[in-house]
């Protein structure tokens, strides 16, 4: 039987000692007693100089001898049957190396932006010009692009048969296949259930009911989707891909062409953002890899396919919209008895509309809960996982409804949350925020401004998040320590921008007690060994334990050498320092120690162990072990013009052990800022009668700029769980979940009336004020 290991775990001052079983290969997890010297420090990212000098080469920057540039002809029609297609005229255009049809006569196209044909030419402008010569005849067919319209009986049906679900590693953890049967354009998805919410609602003395809507939100990564394909014969290929899953690209590319995965070499040295949309070789709504691969074969030259900005909006994924009917039941004392959410959302022609888990899994003291969600198919580009899929829309509705109920009952919104949330860390976070955000005084000031009907109003709001992905065990990290003292850490993981390479260097340096700048990191290449996709906020929690474990294995070998060299009685007596290794007064330098390595190098391969402590359910003292977060927002509103700004934001988050406070802060800022855009300005606008997107650009699709950013402060409530050898969790997704909801609640506090639709534009503020004015006039009569 394995030995029990004692671990000191917990959060804040709540530390307890637990016993866990570890497999023999697994080092004792770093716990709250371990003092770190490199891990956790704000080390600037190690590839920063390459990015700051423009020397970093992204997929878009790859140049090869003879490279052709591809362009894709896309359907302008939301729904049409192809009656004729002829690409031969394109082959005669200047500079064109190949032209291919991507549809056949008779094919039905079901969204504007769908693949029709493609061209590769010596320059991008020649490829685009050649597209104009392709002859296509379409027979347009009825379509529907608005979600509510699509739900009506008799609206044009998007899919005639069952829809295959396209799943990626960025999907919400635990999301099961939707089981429901297609009814018109509506397919009921999975439900989350506890008790009998409908019955409890019927019995509730206080009921609250409201419908919340959220918009379709596009990822809009700065580097558009793209790849470069270079064939070496029929069976071997190199693919440079702007991806957040190198191995996902490899496997999908191999499957597309019937290749051995090992013959598909995928390289992603740098990538310009993904946010969930860049899993797999093809994108959700365009067969990128097939197009580039086929063109490269047809032209017998390497081909680069790099989407234009408009295409990125149309066919590479989005966050589905939502229409959520939220019903709450409560006692008149403010005890919640039931939550029932009926959600519809459109993932366009694809699947995956959801509402996350705020309603079902945060308020665990509510006995009866039912969350039902359904996909509504529309003739629009398919959705794909987007930073915390489902969660921001679900958090907006649930957290808004709670605030509205609190207003109805005359309760403080934080008190209402505390009364129904069992999570000890989130409860701590709520209390911390209440104090640090000066919540009570600001609420009072907001009420005063409302009472005096001031022109400028301020308000505060809060909202919470839940996240439950703790990483996986698939990564294999290699560490080589050479006779010349070099330390090289290798893994095929890509850096989506979180800075995983930097943290790998920190963990290695921590274990080996080497200066961090001496650690060489090699990532971004499928030849460097199995990594993980950067989805589910699990890159750090999957990779760093494997790094630590590999480093510990390598160190153990070195320790054996040192024990012999220094005539120590046991490896336990060795002291490792930046200078080298010592026993008593004897010291051997790192360089001298490494010279004793037999052969070229020590090579150790590590992985994150699958052990008892690795399971999050073992976290002590938690009924709900998920990752907790709370955000507090302040808004300022000009009631004359409707202008609304988020002026201050406090984010209180747990992400396990903090590996690098600097890059962590970047990620949290990023989640918040994405959430601000979602809350206040971003929206894909489709014309309902033409079926096309009207703002497929970065001018009228309004992503947050620097002047839209509030004063952000971050408090990290470290949690040491012992669930992996480094204790890291992820943060990328949790950080964006509560932002829009917190802002919406702040708007509600400022106005005294809730805006139930995202984005909260000046137009909606003015509308809410007008409704409020009318209501008060009615009341006065």
């Amino acid at each position: 039987m394995p030995d029990k290991t004692k671990l000191s775990v917990g959060y804040g001052a709540n530390i307890q000692t637990i016993s866990v079983e570890l497999p023999p290969s697994e080092p004792r997890p770093w716990d709250s007693v371990d003092e770190m010297t490199v891990v956790g420090t704000p080390l600037p990212r190690i590839d920063g100089p390459l990015k700051a000098s423009g020397e970093a080469r992204y997929t878009h920057d790859i140049t090869l001898e003879g490279l052709l540039h591809a362009a894709v002809l896309r359907s302008p029609w939301p729904c049409a049957v192809v009656k004729r297609i002829d690409v031969t005229p394109a082959t005669k255009q200047p500079g064109v190396g190949a032209a291919i049809a991507l549809v056949e006569v008779g094919d039905k196209l079901i969204f504007a932006g769908q693949d029709v044909a493609a061209v590769a030419a010596s320059r991008p402008e020649l490829a685009r010009a050649a597209l104009a010569s392709i002859i296509v005849e379409y027979e347009p067919a009825p379509f529907v692009v608005a979600t509510r319209d699509a739900m009506r009986d008799g609206s044009p049906q998007v899919h005639d048969a069952a829809v295959e679900e396209r799943r990626t590693g960025a999907d919400e953890p635990g999301a099961a296949e939707a089981q429901g049967k297609l009814q018109g354009n509506v397919r009921p998805g999975r439900s989350q259930k506890r008790g009998d919410a409908k019955r409890a609602l019927n019995k509730a003395p206080v009921r609250f009911e409201a419908t919340y809507t959220t918009q379709c939100h596009t990822h809009s990564a700065l580097e558009t989707h793209g790849l470069v394909v270079q064939w070496f014969g029929k069976k071997t290929v190199t693919v440079w891909a702007s991806t957040q899953s190198i191995f996902g690209v490899r496997d999908e590319f191999a499957a597309l062409y019937g290749l051995e995965p090992s013959k598909v070499h995928v390289i992603t040295n740098f990538m310009g953002g993904g946010f969930g949309s860049k899993f797999g070789a093809n994108a959700s709504g365009t067969a990128l890899a097939k197009i580039a691969g086929d063109l490269a074969r047809a032209a017998d030259k390497p081909v680069k396919l790099m989407l234009e900005r408009g295409e990125e909006h149309l066919c590479t994924g989005n966050r589905p919209d939502s229409i959520q009917l939220v019903k709450l039941g409560a006692t008149d004392k403010g005890k919640l008895t039931a939550i029932h959410v009926q959600a519809h959302g459109s993932a366009g022609v694809g699947t995956g509309a959801g509402v996350g888990r705020n309603a079902a899994s945060v308020y665990t003291k509510v006995p009866d809960v039912l969350v039902e969600s359904a996909d509504v198919f529309t003739h629009a580009g398919p959705a794909v996982a987007f930073r915390a899929p489902g969660h921001p829309q679900g958090a907006f509705a649930m957290e808004s409804a709670l605030d509205e109920l609190a207003r109805q009952l005359g309760m403080d919104p934080i008190d209402l949350r505390l009364a129904h949330d069992n999570h000890p860390v989130r409860r701590w976070q709520l209390e911390l925020g209440r104090e640090r955000f000066n919540w009570d005084a600001r609420r009072k000031a907001a009420a005063d401004m409302r009472a005096r009907s001031t022109r400028i109003r301020k308000g505060v709001g809060c909202a919470v998040s839940i996240w439950g992905d703790f990483g996986g065990t698939e990564a294999r990290v290699t560490i080589e320590i050479s006779r010349d003292g070099r330390v090289v850490v290798k893994n095929g993981v890509q850096d989506i921008g979180g800075g995983i390479g930097t943290i790998m260097a920190q963990v290695t340096a921590e274990v080996l007690r080497r200066p961090v700048e001496t650690i060489e990191i090699q990532i971004g290449d499928s030849k460097l060994g199995p990594g993980v996709g950067s989805g589910g906020s699990k890159t750090t929690s999957s990779i760093t334990p494997a790094v630590r474990n590999a480093a510990e294995l390598a160190k153990a070998e070195l320790a054996e050498l040192a024990t012999t060299a220094l005539a120590a009685t046991s490896t336990k007596h060795l002291r490792w320092t930046a200078e080298g290794v010592s026993v008593g007064r004897q010291t051997m330098s790192w360089a001298d120690l490494c010279k004793r390595i037999e052969g070229e190098a020590i090579v150790a391969v590590g992985f994150r162990g699958r052990n008892a402590a690795a399971h999050p359910k073992s976290f002590p003292g938690f009924e709900t072990p998920e990752i907790a977060g709370v955000q507090f927002a302040e808004v300022e509103i000009d009631t004359w013009t409707g202008e609304v700004r988020c002026t201050e934001l406090l984010a209180v988050h747990d992400c396990g052990r903090v590996m690098n406070e600097l890059t962590l802060r970047s990620q949290i800022n990023g989640g918040i800022i994405l959430g601000i855009g979602y809350a206040l300005m971003e929206e894909r606008v489709m014309d309902p009668s033409l079926g096309v997107m009207l703002n497929a650009n970065l001018e009228q699709y309004k992503a947050c700029g620097v002047k839209d950013v509030p004063d952000i402060s971050i408090v990290l409530t470290e949690v040491i769980s012992g669930n992996n050898s480094t204790g890291a969790y992820g943060i990328g997704e949790p950080a964006t979940i509560p932002t829009a909801a917190a802002i919406a609640n702040a708007v509600g506090d400022a106005l005294g009336v809730h805006v139930r639709s995202l984005p909260i534009t000046p137009a909606k503020i003015l509308d809410a004020l007008e409704q409020q004015r009318r209501a008060s006039q009615e009341g006065a009569k």
Binding site: I15, R45, G48, A132, A141, P142, E699
Partner: protein
């Protein structure tokens, strides 16, 4: 009905040669156009019969790029951005929106920050262009670039070169005078960052202008520790 007869401007509102319609199922429509349409033979388009017109074919261009004189030939339709990336392999300058809406392609034209996607290559004849590469190499970063690294003013890094160009122009203009946060925000208001790195970019620029103490509070870590957080 031959494709030439396809209704290009019939009763269906919202229709172009490339595509769109209004009424459902009206007619078949041509997505591209026919090969005997002169507009699809770009290279055979008639030369404007005006003396002195240039750029339909490659035209000589001289300018200075990151301190190095350049002498080459380009067509009028080549943007400065395409020239830099495709012809000169200066890929530090990024293409993101290609419409002047994101700032990823910013360069200095005679010290003035401008969007290279909205300039023609021929516009910079005789000018001095500075790209991110001209600010400093990775082995020899300028103070501003170093501050970007130290403050983690980058995540995916795709906006970084544009941010650097915009803020370097601000620092040149301010010539050593201390800067307010709002001034930095004004200077980079046209630079989009989808990772949301703005607060660190502002901190980095302020640290160069005002000294290292200029950054505002960032984060606070409450450790899990026996005896108190």
């Amino acid at each position: 009905m031959s494709k030439r007869d396809a209704p290009e401007h019939d009763e269906t509102r919202g229709l172009t040669r490339r595509g769109l319609f209004r009424s459902i199922g009206a007619a078949t429509l041509v997505a591209g156009c026919t090969t005997d349409d002169p507009s699809v033979h770009p290279e055979q388009a008639p030369t404007p019969d005006v003396d002195g017109a240039i750029g339909l074919t490659p035209t000589p261009l001289e300018f200075v790029l990151d301190g190095q004189p350049q002498k080459l030939e380009v067509e009028a339709r080549t943007t400065l951005l395409d020239l830099l990336r495709l012809d000169l392999d200066r890929t530090g300058t990024k293409v993101v929106c290609d419409r002047g809406a994101c700032g990823a392609c910013m360069v200095l034209v005679d010290e003035v920050p401008r969007n290279s996607c909205m300039l023609l290559a021929l516009d910079v004849a005789g000018a001095s262009i500075t790209t991110v590469a001209g600010l400093g190499k990775s082995s020899q970063l300028s103070a501003l670039q170093l501050a970007f690294v130290e403050h983690d003013a980058m995540q995916c890094g795709f906006c970084t070169s544009g941010m650097l160009i915009s803020s370097s122009a601000l620092l040149r203009r301010s010539a050593g005078q201390p800067l307010e946060r709002a001034q930095v925000e004004d200077a980079i208001a046209g630079n989009l960052c989808r990772c949301g790195t703005y607060p660190h970019v502002v901190d980095a620029v302020l640290s160069v202008a005002n000294g290292p103490g200029a950054a505002r509070r960032g984060s606070e870590l409450l450790r899990a520790k026996k005896g108190g957080a």
